[in-house]
């Protein structure tokens, strides 16, 4: 994984960097990009475990449809991290179950 810097058609102007916590460690991403994109850019590919067999699941559809990237964000489960914007200080965790309604 890497951030694209040079591209023949597109420009990726520098954006505001923010820090967030993934599984207890501090990670950097760009404000407003999807949480899952920031994780992939940092080389973290597992976003959740499958409910029954606990297999690793990662980024798949990028349109908030497939549920492969559901994570626990700031204590809330089942957050579709491919369409949820990253904010400073977010606490992001790999989801290991179906999530509980509190």
């Amino acid at each position: 994984m890497r951030r694209i810097t040079v591209h023949p058609i597109l420009n990726f102007p520098p954006k505001k960097k923010v820090k967030f916590i993934f599984e207890g460690r501090e990670v950097e991403g760009y404000e407003g990009e999807p949480i899952a994109a920031a994780l992939v850019a940092n080389g973290f590919y597992e976003m959740r475990e499958s409910v029954n067999l606990h297999r690793p699941r990662g980024f798949f559809c990028a349109i908030g449809n497939c549920s492969s990237c559901l994570m626990v964000v700031d204590g809330k489960p089942n957050i579709r991290t491919c369409i949820t914007p990253l904010r400073e200080g977010m606490k992001v965790e790999i989801q290991k179950d179906k999530g509980v309604l509190k």
């Binding site: 890497r2 694209i4 591209h7 297999r55 990662g58 980024f59 957050i79």
Partner: protein
């Protein structure tokens, strides 16, 4: 309660154009999309569009999205709800849009469903492993967010999407090891694109399929095998690719759950991507107040989606008594027919013909 003349669900090329057409004719419009920005999948299209949508100018997809987004945001009769998803439609005509904190009840007079499509999955060992992506997802990651999820790619499917994504990966300086396709011929890709990537050194291997991906916590290699004319594996033709990303470009299917919930008549038409709502030339479904436009009405591409959106938007305004130039609707219908004359639309035309022979 929001009570717009027209509710448009989905802010891609079809939904944006439906909203603009209806609002320009005088209707009030509420446009809802689950993303934080408008444009749908057009925002990741870096190739040029010609013809009606680009007004002959050869605008790139993301530029078209920006143009329409600007028109919508400055339009006095269009309200947008972004980051909200339409999660329910009830028999009494009330629709519900929600995010995690808030929700709105909506009572529209007409609805245009332009929810688009989702990517298909195919079966192989460990197909749920991190590193297996829908092709569109990688397009979004690299073209919208500037993130490349790996360095070496195998693409499954030689249709339009597979070939274009291969080209875009090369532009981002990634390595595409190969495109494979189980069919004995190239999928629905333009020859000019396919020739371009082959010149750049990407082999297109036909009659070959993927059997599995393996690695420690992430894809590290993909196994493939040649197939005969009955799609059965031929022993001895196995080939391993050392890749960290496998892209599935094996087709799309309409996102028609809302229509299904409402009991709108649907038919299974493989040429259009699976279950599609019956609809007439203006996009009207078996439910007279509900229209469809874009991929949810049958898988095509952005130009036809935009044209369909314009047509259904104008028709909703006409239904509600606003002044609409009927010649404009006829002209858009003609453009749509012309655009579908290309050989790549042959399958779509067959599918539409089959759909139209079915009853409402």
């Amino acid at each position: 309660m929001i009570e717009p003349d027209v509710l448009v669900v989905g802010g891609g090329p079809a939904g944006m154009n439906a909203a603009l057409a209806a609002a320009n004719a005088g209707a009030t419009v509420l446009l809802v999309d689950r993303f934080q920005n408008l444009g749908g999948q057009l925002v990741k299209q870096t190739h040029k569009f010609f013809g009606w949508a680009a007004r002959g100018a050869g605008a790139r997809g993301f530029e078209l999205a920006q143009k329409w987004e600007g028109e919508i945001q400055n339009h006095p009769r269009i309200r947008t709800l972004l980051g909200f998803e339409v999660i329910g439609a009830y028999k009494d005509g009330i629709w519900l849009a929600a995010d995690l904190e808030d929700f709105y009840k909506i009572k529209p007079k007409r609805v245009v469903i332009a929810t688009g499509a989702s990517e298909r999955m195919i079966t192989f060992e460990n197909n749920d492993y991190p590193g297996v992506y829908g092709a569109g997802a990688v397009q979004t990651l690299m073209n919208v967010y500037g993130v490349l999820p790996g360095e070496r790619y195998l693409i499954v499917g030689s249709g339009n999407v597979g070939v274009i994504v291969a080209y875009q990966l090369l532009q981002a300086q990634a390595k595409v090891e190969a495109i494979i396709d189980i069919l004995p011929r190239l999928g629905g890709a333009y020859w000019v694109h396919a020739a371009k990537i082959q010149r750049a050194g990407v082999p297109i291997l036909l009659k070959r399929t993927i059997t599995g991906v393996y690695g420690e916590g992430h894809v590290e290699r993909a196994e493939t095998i040649g197939v005969d004319e009955k799609f059965q594996p031929i022993p001895g033709t196995e080939r391993t690719f050392s890749v960290d990303v496998v892209l599935l470009a094996v087709g799309l299917m309409p996102l028609s759950e809302l229509l299904f919930e409402l009991g709108v008549r649907e038919y299974y038409i493989p040429e259009l991507g699976g279950f599609v709502p019956w609809h007439d030339e203006t996009g009207r479904t078996s439910h007279p107040e509900i229209f469809v436009a874009g991929d949810v009405a049958g898988i095509e591409e952005a130009t036809t989606a935009a044209l369909q959106g314009r047509i259904s938007g104008l028709q909703t305004a006409l239904d509600l008594g606003y002044e609409v130039n009927k010649d404009e609707i006829d002209e858009l219908k003609m453009l749509l027919t012309q655009f579908r004359r290309s050989s790549l639309s042959e399958k779509v035309c067959q599918g539409l013909e089959r759909l139209h022979t079915k009853g409402v």
